[in-house]
Amino acid sequence: MIELVTTAVMVLAGAVTVFALGCFSLAGSRPRALDRAVVVLEGGLVLRAMLGVGAIVSGQHAFPGGTHVAYLVTSVAILPVALGTLVDDQTRWSAAVLAVTCLAVLVVALRLQMTWDGHA
């Protein structure tokens, strides 16, 4: 289940990255649809984090280590921080910032799965 959610989050992060790059290339300003897509991605990340914490607390999965916890916190915090800095910025460059952030989320989600499986 948790692997499925992580994969879905990675696919979604990739899609939002491409969408944000498209907004940067084409649009004059950042569309609201991009913000909504980022919120949906954040929802997926929160769901992934809750499933992970639930599995550890219930004893279904061994504690994966401090590195995993660091990636878990980063995965949930990074998008709200990025959106928070862009509240008064609707320029196309704010879409570029979101593209960079979503790409980072994709990498963090990948590392999250690797540390969960014990490969890193």
């Binding site: 862009l86 570029a96 980072a104």
Partner: protein
Amino acid sequence: MPDPTAGRGGATAKGSAESPTASGAFPLGPHRVLIALYALFTLAAGARSSVQLAQNAGVAPVAYGLSAAAACTYAAGWYAIARAARGRTALASVLLWVELTGVLVVGTLSLVEPDWFPDASVWSDYGIGYGFVPVALPIGGLLWLRWQIRRTRPAVIDDLRLEHDQPPG
């Protein structure tokens, strides 16, 4: 006497991509992407070096120490670019060259003297572990800085001219 900082801010408002925010707190524009990247790399390099130094400091002290130095450089670069966006470009022009030199020296040493790097640092192989972003980042920063200096220079000259033309008293 006009405030030079205010004058530069005024020049900032002329650029379409560089209009100040509604609150006037922070100018907008391409540097925000650089700031986001510097913030991410401060976090990534800082966390990486902290974990490595805390758990296996003896395995590759040079590489881990260089990763910590890279984290400090990114934090300083983050601050310097934020300053440069407001027209104070001197610190950024020094720090970005220091960063680029660091990436090139460490990247070259990691290829020429691999024994010195039993484990990779952030700048090993010119940042191959991070998709070569570590080497692209200071180059992008320097290109932006060149553009920023050209853009703000007329405003500084205007400020000095105003200051010179103003009658004493």
